[in-house]
């Protein structure tokens, strides 16, 4: 049934509605599987001092899609995320072996400019972290440290970034106000706008909505759905419903190992591993 429908989109017999949706979803899944790879890790081990946090993680993250990293607390999903823009470099005593490729380029190779890497691979954190500056200065921060001084260019970047983060209409009249005066949900969207202002290809999100109320969470999720048209998004989430709602691919981590990686709908409906099934059905974690 599955293979048939993907080969010939019009089955001969009159199908039921359920069949049609399954068939179309499966076509979508196949397309999903064939996406180009944006970020890849090969045999990634990671250590905090003597404690190993990641064990041989090999994964291929497809481009212009949302990839969710799920798993119980302490499973290494945030650590994994932070290896992708070398954020773990700023923690003392960490060590890594294996390969991380962004568009085929080894980001841990000698001669890699970490500052340039972090502009290409942006990051949004769990806690919104607006700088104690104006809304404008927050968004303009990235371009400014990159050396942009032209006020007209900065204004342009700020406006387009705020628009892409769906915050422009709410703040366009008070760009000079302190960013700390914004609500929690607005602050998080401001942080997303600030990340977009450095024009990254990849946006890493570490539980971006976990501290927000349901309405703000919904806005962030809508935003992520919009953003994946232009960006490769990797998102860590505790919330499995959220992963199922917004992601195209899901990776399940457990005790520092990548247990299973696949197209989200498949992983949630037909998990290949017992541990994945146990986790997504709520038997642990």
């Amino acid at each position: 049934m599955v293979t048939e429908s993907t080969q010939s989109p019009e089955p001969p017999a009159l199908p039921s509605l359920a069949d049609i949706t399954t068939a179309f979803s499966d076509v979508a899944d196949v397309a999903e599987r064939e996406r180009a790879v944006k970020v890849e890790t090969i045999d990634l081990d990671f250590f905090y001092g003597d404690v190993q946090a990641l064990f041989g993680v090999s994964m291929q993250v497809p481009e212009q899609a949302v990839t969710a990293l799920i798993g119980p607390s302490g499973c290494g999903k945030s650590t994994y995320l932070r290896t992708l823009n070398r954020m773990n470099d700023i923690i003392e005593g960490t060590r890594l072996s294996g390969t991380v490729l962004v568009e085929g380029q080894d980001i841990y190779a000698g001669g890699i400019d970490v500052v340039a890497l972090r502009k290409r691979v942006g990051m949004v954190f769990q806690k919104s972290t607006p700088f104690p500056k104006s809304i404008f200065d927050n968004v303009a921060y990235g371009p400014r440290v990159a050396g942009e001084k032209n006020k007209a260019v900065l204004t342009e970047i700020v406006e387009s970034s705020l628009q892409r983060a769906a915050l422009w209409d709410e703040v366009k009249d008070r760009l000079d106000d302190s960013a700390l005066a914004l609500s929690g949900g607005q602050q998080q969207r401001l942080c997303i706008a600030r990340t977009l202002a450095t024009s990254p290809d990849v946006v890493l999100m570490d539980e971006p909505a976990s501290a927000l109320d349901p309405a703000s969470t919904a806005r962030i999720e809508d935003l992520i759905f919009e953003l994946k048209k232009n960006y490769t998004i990797i998102i860590v989430t505790h919330n499995m419903q959220q992963a199922a709602r917004i992601s195209d691919h899901t990776a399940f981590f457990f005790e520092g190992k990548l247990i299973e990686f696949g197209v989200t709908r498949e992983l949630f409906t037909r998990p290949g591993e017992q541990q994945t099934e146990d986790y997504i059905t709520g038997r642990f974690g």
Binding site: M87, E92, R118, F125, T129, Y141, R194, T195
Partner: protein
């Protein structure tokens, strides 16, 4: 026991309950009173000092005239000579004020940038190992008696630093006692204060802000100067103001290094007299109680008090005004 506990209505249980509460409340009250008295002691001392300063300088008690009843405020603030111990007495605070402010200014030029730079280094750059090594050294600097600093200025800074550069090199006349050497050692003296207080302010900036800045492609310098420093601005300014207040009030090193020449000058290589040095000078001498020289002591002390109080109030205001709220 069990039955008693279960029978809430019979009254015995609430009785023991009230008894215990009363005893606890009594203890609570006693402790509160002791703490209150301790707090009162410092407030009382402050009020006492203000009372003495004001009565001797401004108001006057009983028959004795206060300083400002004999010398007008206009003379005090506009006269350019300060000669209370001479036969021809003049009471212009300006020479003492410029002496004090010049020394504090030189100290600030040295102490604030160096203190802030070391705070940024300790907070943002130093590894924990280096920090654990450098911090105690800075604290030792804070523990050196100020008289040693004065001596250091007199026997080292002036002859081996200032004179080779400014006298032998630039041909300026550097006195044995001079404002520059005093300013330099006071500047060194306030480094640990600026560094320690600023470092506290810098380190209290949430780590999340640093991570966010790094994630936007910042270098370590960008993070330190564009994010952490502005976020800690109020704490840093407060540390500056407190350090300047300390420099204005510094006595021993200044008395030894700058001398006791109340001349109105802006030449840092000449001897000046600070307000504090004058107070030392008069307090040590055999000044007759009730004489005008004796009373001038209180006028100078009051001026000094007002300046340092203003600095402290300003630093509090800055802290309040610029305090950023982090959730």
């Amino acid at each position: 026991m069990t039955s008693q506990r279960n029978s809430v209505g019979d009254g015995s249980v609430p009785q023991t309950l009230t008894g215990r509460v009363t005893l606890g409340r009594l203890k609570e009250q006693a402790v509160k009173a002791v703490f209150f008295c301790c707090a009162l002691l410092s407030i009382g001392t402050t009020i006492g000092i203000i009372y003495v300063l004001v009565t001797e300088a401004v108001v006057g008690v009983g028959d004795s005239q206060a300083f400002f009843q004999e010398v007008s405020l206009v003379e005090f603030f506009t006269e350019t000579r300060w000669t209370p111990q001479f036969a021809d007495k003049h009471f212009g605070i300006l020479p003492l004020l410029t002496g004090t402010l010049m020394i504090a200014g030189i100290a600030a030029c040295i102490g604030l940038p160096v203190g802030l730079a070391s705070a940024i280094y300790l907070s943002e750059y130093a590894s924990p190992r280096v920090r654990n090594l450098v911090k105690p050294v800075l604290e030792v600097l804070a523990g050196i008696p100020t008289v040693v600093y004065g001596y250091f200025a007199l026997v080292f800074v002036t002859p081996y630093v200032l004179r080779p550069i400014f006298q032998d090199g630039l041909g300026l006349d550097v006195g044995v006692f001079n404002a520059a050497s005093a300013g330099i050692v006071v500047g060194i003296m306030i480094i640990p204060m600026v560094s320690s207080l600023s470092e506290d302010a810098l380190r209290s900036v949430p780590q999340g802000l640093r991570e966010a800045a790094y994630a936007l492609g910042s270098t370590k310098l960008d993070v330190s100067l564009r994010v952490v420093l502005p976020a800690a601005f109020s704490g840093v300014i407060a540390s500056f103001l407190l350090a300047i207040a300390r420099a204005v009030g510094e006595t021993m090193a200044v008395t030894i290094a700058a001398g006791q020449t109340p001349d109105l000058t802006l030449n840092p290589f000449r001897s000046v007299e600070s307000m504090t040095a004058f107070i030392v000078n008069v307090s040590l001498g055999d000044t007759a109680v009730g004489s005008i020289v004796y009373k001038s002591l209180y006028a100078v002390a009051l001026t000094l008090f007002v300046i340092t109080l203003a600095m402290n109030i300003l630093s509090q205001a800055v802290l309040r005004r610029f305090r950023e709220v982090y959730q």
